[in-house]
């Protein structure tokens, strides 16, 4: 069964209005900002963002904010707890009649992968368990970006970070496999989870439109190509971000109450095409090609898609 988009069928249905204004100090070519801007076009302005420390802290650097709505800054480990507080406050105000129901706001957590995969995992688990009515938007740049690109549990095998360099003991750089946070979330059976990639704007927008029909936790993992951490020219963001999906490394999917659907089936180009564009994988190709490591990455993707029932 192929996945059908209901709301966003043509590119010109992407709303013209901007909800994340320019002037932020995120890097030129930031893939995370690309994803957030598109998501915000569906979320609108009636939002309270609860932002875990990370690159996105730079969105609202004092005294400037790109949002028309509110933005609250929390520690890396506690954004979902912050979201609970905001949601509760809104609910209390509505219950007491001090806030008309029509003025209710959406509560949206913004967290990097360092927060999401590592530090805020228990806080997120608690929020899903309690059925908190909120959105969770993880912009996954596969490292602790804001502090200079250190290894996170989202860093893929074979990538080089400042804390997992290519060394004699570990010529491939990172030896751990990327944590499967989608499956960890899914084990909690929240109403809605999706992965998105800004190169697939209609898929992204459609998923935010669908999520809006559910009450409870709605969680998103957004591929965030990062020129600074992945070491490529900002202008190459389109190519890198597209190949992440086309090689099958970043599957586009959703899970409704735990039931998974893949929303796009790539033809699956060799992973090498994706890896060789980025400085963080250069040691796999130079000075000598690390065939073993590249094959390992390819085999993991192949194994993933073998178990996908498409």
């Amino acid at each position: 069964m192929t996945w059908q988009r209901e709301t966003f069928k043509k590119i010109k249905q992407i709303p013209r209005e901007e909800h994340v204004l320019p002037g932020t100090s995120l890097c030129a070519g930031c893939g995370g900002l690309e994803a957030l801007r598109l998501a915000a076009k569906v979320l609108g302005d009636d939002v309270v963002y609860v932002n875990a420390a990370g690159c996105f802290t730079m969105l609202a650097a004092y005294p400037f904010t790109p949002f028309k709505g509110s933005w609250l800054y929390t520690t890396m480990g506690s954004a979902p707890a912050g979201a609970q507080g905001v949601r509760d406050a809104l609910d209390v105000l509505i219950a007491k009649g001090r806030l008309p129901k029509r003025d209710d706001l959406k509560v949206v957590v913004l967290g990097g992968d360092g927060s999401t995969y590592d530090m805020a995992l228990s806080s997120t688990s608690g929020a899903i368990y309690r059925g908190l009515d909120f959105y969770y938007f993880c912009y996954d740049n596969e490292a602790y970006g804001n502090t200079g690109v250190q290894l996170s549990a989202a860093t893929p095998y074979g990538a080089r970070t400042t804390t997992s360099p290519c060394s004699l003991q570990h010529p491939a750089g990172t030896i751990q496999e990327k944590k499967d946070i989608f499956e960890i979330w899914r084990a909690h059976k929240p109403p809605y989870i999706a992965t998105v990639a800004p190169r697939y704007p209609l898929d992204l927008a459609e998923k935010f439109a669908r999520a809006a029909t559910f009450t409870g936790p709605k969680l998103f993992l957004a591929l965030s190509a990062c020129p600074t951490g992945w070491l490529y020219d900002p202008g190459e963001t389109p190519e890198v971000a597209k190949l992440a999906v086309e090689t099958g490394l970043w599957p586009l999917k959703e899970a409704i109450n735990g039931a998974v659907t893949h929303t796009y089936i790539p033809k699956r180009k060799p992973v090498e095409e994706y890896l060789k564009l980025q400085g963080r994988f250069r040691h796999l190709f130079e000075p000598t090609k690390q065939e073993e490591a590249i094959r390992h990455i390819q085999e993991r993707v192949d194994a993933y898609w073998r178990q996908v029932n498409v």
Binding site: S25, G29, G31, M58, F64, R160, P238
Partner: protein
């Protein structure tokens, strides 16, 4: 001891240049210290790095407040009050500016009281690589020359530092060739050591603390980030060739910063006050209706209003 302060925009290579100079000095038997100023700022935003080299053990720490040499990677920083590139300067300080202007003219135009020398590193780099890349090697080369460090030490330092960054050999070789020409071409103004005992260090920036009972910083305004213009980040600007545009909206959809809007006739309108010059739109345009044009006088053409 000689104190060198590098200023650039994130991604321009000031931090690596500072390492190159430290390493080159170390290879000549000097003591060296180098440290970038860590901020939460990003590619394109002002950054600085401090290097100290000395025959004696170095006791001083932290940001350099009385530089003997200031190396400026981007002339647009001189007019940017947040970058504070000329802080602590005296008439004896040597100031290198990466600019196309001759030294005298730069000195007058930028009103720098110190001793000024210039070279157009951006142009030399573009000629070497055919595209804008980090200026670490050229900046390091210029500083080494002005400090009287040997060409061989520079070469070894560049090789080591760039290899540490994981750059491919071809790129390192290109940088060595480029650095050698910059080393030879920069008009030399010798850097003298500050004489006498240094005065008490001045604090460049004093943070203001509020009592915790006041709570944390609060922005009461809404959607005011456009007041902060990021147009100065560009080296290349996207320019529309209207005849070629088919009105497909792709540039508008993919711009991370939302600086492209579509007119009623479906033509992209670019907000140059905020475009950071990432070139995503140029890459995405299926009809090549957006082309990258170099900012006329280096990155500094655009000025904050």
């Amino acid at each position: 001891m000689r104190s060198i302060r590098f200023h650039g925009r994130g991604g321009q290579g000031a931090k690596t240049a500072s390492r190159i100079v430290g390493t080159a000095a170390f290879l000549e038997g000097l003591t060296a210290q180098d440290s970038p100023l860590y901020g939460a700022e990003r590619r394109g935003a002002p950054v600085s790095a401090s290097t100290r080299i000395s025959r004696e053990p170095i006791r001083e720490r932290g940001l350099i407040t009385r530089p003997d040499l200031i190396v400026i990677a981007d002339e647009s920083l001189i007019g940017d009050p947040t970058a504070r590139v000329l802080d602590g300067l005296s008439e004896r300080t040597v100031v290198f500016v990466n600019a196309a202007l001759p030294s005298e003219q730069a000195r007058d135009q930028f009103r720098i009281p110190g001793r000024v020398t210039t070279l157009d590193l951006t142009d030399m780099t573009l000629r070497q690589f055919g595209k804008p890349v980090a200026l670490s090697a050229p900046l390091g080369a210029v500083a080494c020359r002005l400090l009287g460090l040997k060409a061989e030490s520079l070469k070894a330092a560049i090789t080591g530092e760039l290899a540490d960054l994981g750059l491919p050999e071809t790129v390192i070789e290109g940088n060595l060739a480029l650095a050698a020409s910059c080393y030879d071409a920069v008009p030399v103004v010798p850097v003298e050591e500050m004489a006498g005992t240094p005065p008490a260090p001045v604090s460049l920036w004093t943070p203001v603390y509020e009592p915790p009972t006041l709570g944390s910083a609060r922005i009461s305004a809404s959607a005011n980030s456009p007041l902060r213009e990021t147009g100065g980040w560009r080296t290349f600007r996207p320019v529309l060739v209207p005849d070629k545009c088919n009105g497909c909206w792709l540039c508008f959809v993919y711009c991370p910063d939302g600086v492209i809007s579509m007119t009623k006739d479906d033509l992209p309108l670019i907000d140059y006050d905020h475009c950071k010059g990432c070139q995503i739109c140029v890459q995405e345009c299926p009809t090549k209706a957006l082309v990258a044009e170099r900012e006329q006088e280096g990155a500094g053409t655009w000025r904050a209003k």
